[in-house]
């Protein structure tokens, strides 16, 4: 569904992504792990069209989207929930969701959008009473749920999440990941960037480990859960 081929991205003279290649198949949850500064955010932002790639190809649904702008990419079903949530703080929660469904509402899909908002509230019941609240006043966890909802409401085929667990209490992270699993069960494909390697490995089908701008390791979750390098560097356990 999504294929990254030999992607290189940099800021000025600084190369951050160096020959990154990986694939995400229909219906999978893929985790992309990596330590601080490994280039995870840069990779997702480039895929979402916020950065230009220096070289390489990004293929989504058989279309070469490497040169596309962010709005067009989001419009064809590839959505990013950016690092740090990035809600529109002066808009209400409801308005944030409406903006997420902008194209569908423009196309006259008001009924369907309303139904999906209902579905989102089933997933995150805590948001139900906050719909009229300004998004900037929500707690970090609530903001993360709305950020996911805002992307979900656009009915993407593939949802990319940049560290959704950032700053959340472990109990919240658990229910958040539970919700992500439900989204997948509903037919959505997920690409998940995480520092919380254990949690991410628990729900993913396959994972890639990003180091210094390219893939160091990859495999299905059991392979990686047992891999000495992953155990040591990402799960904080002694190998063997």
């Amino acid at each position: 569904m999504l294929r990254i081929e030999e992607l290189c991205v940099g800021y000025g003279s600084l190369d951050v992504i160096r020959g990154l290649s990986f694939e995400v198949g229909q219906g999978e949850i893929i985790a992309l792990l990596g330590s601080n500064g490994a280039g995870k955010t840069t990779a997702l932002r480039t895929i979402a069209g916020l950065h230009r790639a220096a070289s390489g190809r990004i293929v989504f649904d058989e279309a070469d989207i490497t040169e596309w702008g962010a709005a067009r990419i989001a419009g064809c079903g590839l959505r990013l929930v950016p690092e740090g949530r990035q809600l529109f703080p002066d808009h209400t929660v409801m308005e944030n969701l409406e903006l997420g469904a902008y194209r569908r509402l423009r196309a006259g899909g008001k009924q369907a959008v309303r139904k999906d908002i209902g579905e989102f509230l089933d997933l995150f019941p805590a948001i139900g009473t906050l719909m009229g609240q300004k998004a900037g006043l929500l707690s970090g966890g609530e903001q993360q749920m709305v950020a996911i909802g805002r992307a979900f409401i656009g009915r993407p085929k593939l949802l990319m999440l940049d560290e959704p667990s950032l700053g959340l209490a472990p109990i919240l992270v658990k229910s958040l990941f539970e919700a992500l699993r439900k989204l997948r069960d509903g037919g959505m494909t997920l690409l998940l960037v995480e520092q919380m390697a254990q949690m991410a490995l628990d729900i993913c089908d396959r994972a890639y480990v990003l180091e210094a701008g390219s893939i160091r390791l990859s495999g299905n979750r059991n392979e990686l859960l047992d891999h000495p390098h992953v155990l040591e560097a990402y799960l904080g356990k002694a190998a063997g």
Partner: protein
């Protein structure tokens, strides 16, 4: 008392015009962080088009307004394309010069087409006066005030009640995140420029019977409106309405009771004072408080 009321009311009418132009600066500033510095000259084009369609071609006012809006939309699209878009990159501030250049071009073209002599445009509702006791107002002044209020209300409804308006506000917060919603932010930037252009044109339409049609009719208006946008805060449309009207009233009273020369000193002195004491404007949000 009659004198006081009279200058107060004409001051308020002038202030309403300032607000209408000033809000134009704020619209493009919030979506693109750029200003059309020559907005006063765009007001003049609105006045000249009114002269042409209404007086020279003899079209009635509604048709004149409609035709004017169409021309301002086209000019807005072209103006954005040539004077903003090519320079619209982070760090480039060439647009300061290029938008001004378009304004000076407008003045030159206007002098070529319409000459240098001020041409009168008859008031829309005749030159009678509406009087209730000591309270007297020209119908054109009343029209100016009512139009400004209606336009501000419409803008408010647009920003807060329509999906497109909400997308404008989202773009003002972060064009990057807005584009992640699949929203074409480039289109929103062009639209905001076009709205600004239409507002300036409409301002020219409603004041030209008061100012006369001439190539320089908008220059000082545009500058004062700029001062008001800065005094109120570029991100605060409602503040701009309040400040514009208060400023117009103050200016009217000051020049009525002291001497006319004070008019032009007042605005810029106030602007510098506000910039010094509260750089974000009286109604603006300080950048450190921004989420």
């Amino acid at each position: 008392m009659e004198f006081f009321l009279h200058i107060l009311i004409s001051g308020i009418a002038t202030g309403a015009i300032y607000s209408l132009i000033a809000v134009g600066y704020s619209i493009t500033f919030s979506t693109m962080q750029i200003l059309n510095f020559a907005l006063g000259m765009w007001v003049m084009i609105g006045g000249m088009l009114t002269l042409t369609f209404n007086v020279m071609f003899g079209l009635d006012l509604a048709v004149t307004l409609l035709a004017l809006i169409v021309v301002m939309i086209l000019l807005g699209i072209v103006g954005e394309r040539v004077s903003v878009h090519p320079f619209f990159r982070a760090g480039s501030d060439v647009w300061v010069m290029s938008t001004l250049a378009v304004g000076f071009l407008f003045i030159n073209v206007a002098e070529l087409i319409w000459g240098r002599n001020p041409e009168p445009v008859p008031p829309f509702f005749g030159d009678g006066i509406i009087a209730v006791g000591a309270f007297a107002i020209f119908p054109q002044q009343l029209l100016v005030i009512v139009s400004a209020l209606v336009i501000f209300l419409a803008l408010h409804l647009f920003y807060y009640r329509t999906l497109l308006g909400k997308a404008f506000r989202a773009t003002a917060h972060s064009s990057e995140v807005t584009s992640l919603m699949g929203i074409n932010t480039r289109l929103i930037c062009v639209l905001s420029y076009v709205i600004t252009s239409v507002l300036a044109g409409v301002a020219g339409f409603i004041i030209v019977p008061i100012t006369f049609a001439e190539a320089q009719m908008g220059t000082v208006l545009g500058l004062k409106a700029f001062a008001i946008a800065i005094i109120a805060g570029l991100g605060a449309p409602r503040g701009i309405l309040v400040c514009g009207i208060a400023y117009g009233a103050l200016e009217g009273l000051a020049s009525g009771y002291f001497y006319t020369g004070i008019r032009d000193i007042l605005g810029f002195s106030l602007m510098i004072l506000v910039l010094f004491l509260r750089p974000e404007g009286l109604f603006g949000t300080p950048s450190s408080e921004r989420a």
